[in-house]
């Protein structure tokens, strides 16, 4: 699939004056964001500034009370999360959301859900109706396992593997869906330097080899400036800077939010 096939010239994601409140708290206020095809777009800001809330607004968990969200030019505001997923949006969670009690392999296979046709009939008549499909999707999953170097833990229960690997499995599950747009919510939180470098490499490769556009939420400025094409900085639910990382990090408002806020405490 070429880049062009995935929706023409419209931006992959566009937020137009998105606003979200939680009983009085304004978590997002007038957010405008436009992510172009093939970009790695950074979203930064101190803790509690609304980054995860924006992700939840896009994926349908907390629809915005005002404003519109467009995916490849199509209005997706307020659609149910499972439906947004079928439109090619995948995400990972800041606090892991893997399915315990299942193997790493089954977790990643679940990422293929939207490409499969689960039904009672296919389950009952597995040998005739499901085996071929299961095998094809398994091959697609093995491809992702190779890509993220997860061969060693394929058959392990996901409950027992280290946190760094869990984050990678969650990325694998998201990539297995072959999304056109991928949201990563602090994928490097809790990782050491080496793991962070691996993750950064995987994100770049995912964009280059698997044609995904990425919205990367990160706490660490160095990662953002290192791999993002453009970025947006938030503070208390407001936009305080957007553009090319070099410019944004030099913006006095961003510097102040960071020096006065989370950066000092980290």
């Amino acid at each position: 699939m070429t880049l062009k096939d995935r929706g023409g010239d419209a931006p992959v994601l566009e937020c137009r004056s998105v606003e979200r409140r939680f009983s009085g708290i304004v978590a997002l206020n007038g957010i405008d964001m436009c992510i172009e095809r093939g970009e790695i777009f950074g979203l930064v800001g101190p803790n509690g500034c609304g980054k995860t809330t924006l992700t939840n607004a896009i994926t349908g968990f907390y629809p915005p009370q005002r404003g519109r969200i467009l995916l490849n030019g199509r209005d997706i505001t307020g659609l149910a999360p499972h439906y947004v997923a079928t439109l090619g949006v995948a995400r990972t969670f800041q606090n892991l959301a893997l399915f315990n009690g299942m193997s790493v392999l089954d977790n990643i296979l679940l990422g293929r859900h939207i490409h499969m046709k689960p039904s009672v009939g296919r389950t009952a008549l597995y040998w005739w109706l499901a085996r071929g499909d299961e095998t094809l999707n398994r091959a697609a999953v093995e491809d992702v396992i190779d890509f993220l170097q997860l061969e060693g833990v394929r058959d392990e229960l996901v409950d027992g593997i280290p946190i760094g690997l869990k984050k990678r499995v969650e990325l694998a599950r998201a990539l297995a869906a072959e999304p056109s747009f991928l949201i990563l919510d602090e994928p490097m939180a809790g990782m050491n330097q080496e793991e962070k470098e691996y993750m950064a490499r995987f994100i770049l490769d995912a964009r280059d080899e698997r044609n995904v556009t990425v919205l990367l939420i990160e706490h660490h400025m160095d990662v953002i400036t290192g791999i993002c094409d453009r970025m947006l900085a938030l503070n208390y639910g407001e936009m305080i800077g957007s553009g090319v990382p070099a410019d944004v990090v030099a913006d006095p408002r961003v510097v102040e939010a960071y020096i006065g806020g989370a950066h000092a405490t980290r």
């Binding site: 968990f61 499972h82 859900h113 009672v120 296919r122 009952a124 597995y126 499901a130 299961e134 095998t135």
Partner: protein, 357 residues
């Protein structure tokens, strides 16, 4: 039995996903199936029709309940009612002259429709409330069956079930009835085994584990819960019909009362949530338990010289189920099936226990 994994390499994905990838397991399942098929040859009819047959039918029922409880993670306190719907539907259908093979399918469909209409309303609530509304299903069914003579068959409330006829042949011998139960149990078991390796089973587990994470990969939780309710009700309905057709030969409301729902729940939980082999163990355990317990109590009564009222004796098994359910939920939610797996995993590497599987 020596299980061995060493030296077995799968060379394609479907072999890796075979039902029993380890040859020792295949041999064991094959031998058990042969033993089951030959049972009427070597087993006396009393054991065949009063132990083996109800065990197989109840195992199928427990597996159906395990689908909703162990896979989809939704509590169901009215499973006996669902079985009862199937039983009454099948008896009425075959009394109306509908061939039995079709009657049991109708039984399954009726149970699935009523069960999922009910779930449709109940699934708007979660957890405890859902459990309570399935209990309501039980009471609504109890009431309806006993207050509508057209269903219960009048004041005597016992409705004779016509003999089973398959493709025009009357199945009346003990062996014949046993084979009906065996076939159904094998069918349900193979469905559940397939559930472990298909997209449907994975989606159900996803819904059970984390509904928001399920949504984010495109799983519509409501839809899959409904599918789980419908499928498990279908299995329950057919099982109820087969239980009456092969074992009770007549249907009364008490066969599917709330006590029986609790008993079914105990089978699944004692056997292990989500465990297929566990449902076999759980059903056997719960069916044999009252008998064993009664003989134990009468032995203890004579030995230590106390006497228990008939009422107390009748309620003891119920109390014991309750204690068992709580005990297993607290200590080993994976039940007897888990204990079996531990032993199997140990044997898999025996005598080299220090190697990790």
């Amino acid at each position: 039995m020596l299980f061995r994994q060493a030296g077995i390499f799968h060379t394609d994905y479907s072999a890796d996903r075979a039902l029993f990838p380890i040859p020792a397991d295949r041999w064991m399942i094959g031998s058990l199936l042969l033993l089951a098929l030959a049972a009427p040859l070597y087993m006396n009819t009393l054991y065949l029709s009063s132990y083996l047959l109800p065990w197989l039918v109840w195992t199928a029922g427990a597996l159906g309940l395990n689908l909703i409880l162990g896979w989809a993670g939704q509590f169901h306190l009215g499973y006996a009612a669902v079985m009862g719907i199937g039983a009454y539907a099948a008896v009425h259908a075959s009394r109306a002259g509908i061939p039995w093979e079709i009657a049991i399918v109708l039984a399954g469909i009726t149970a699935a429709v009523i069960g999922s209409v009910f779930a449709f309303a109940a699934l708007r609530v979660k957890g405890l409330y859902l459990a309570l509304s399935t209990l309501a299903l039980q009471f609504v069914m109890d009431w309806t069956i006993s207050h509508v003579p057209a269903i219960s068959g009048g004041t005597q409330a016992t409705l004779q079930a016509p003999d089973i006829r398959l493709l025009g042949w009357a199945v009346t011998s003990d062996a014949g009835l046993y084979y009906v139960a065996l076939v159904w149990c094998v069918l349900v078991t193979s469905f559940m085994l397939n559930l472990r390796r298909t997209a449907l089973g994975r989606a159900l587990v996803a819904v059970r584990e984390k509904d928001y994470a399920a949504a984010v990969i495109g799983v519509n939780s409501f839809y899959f819960k409904l599918v789980a309710f419908a499928t498990s009700s279908f299995i329950g309905g057919v099982t109820g019909a087969i239980l009456v057709g092969t074992f009770y030969h007549a249907v009364t409301p008490e066969q599917f009362s709330v006590d029986v729902s609790i008993q079914a729940l105990a089978m699944v939980i004692v056997g292990g949530l989500g465990s297929i082999i566990g449902s076999y163990f759980g059903a056997a355990f719960i069916l044999l338990m009252p008998g064993v317990m009664n003989s134990f109590i009468s032995w203890a009564a004579t030995k230590f010289g106390f006497s228990l009222g008939i009422e107390t004796l009748a309620h003891l098994p119920q109390a014991f189920y309750g204690a068992l359910i709580i005990g297993f939920l607290l200590i080993e939610p994976l039940g007897l099936g888990k204990i079996y797996n531990n032993i199997r995993d140990y044997l898999l590497v025996w005598p080299f226990g220090y190697t990790k599987k």
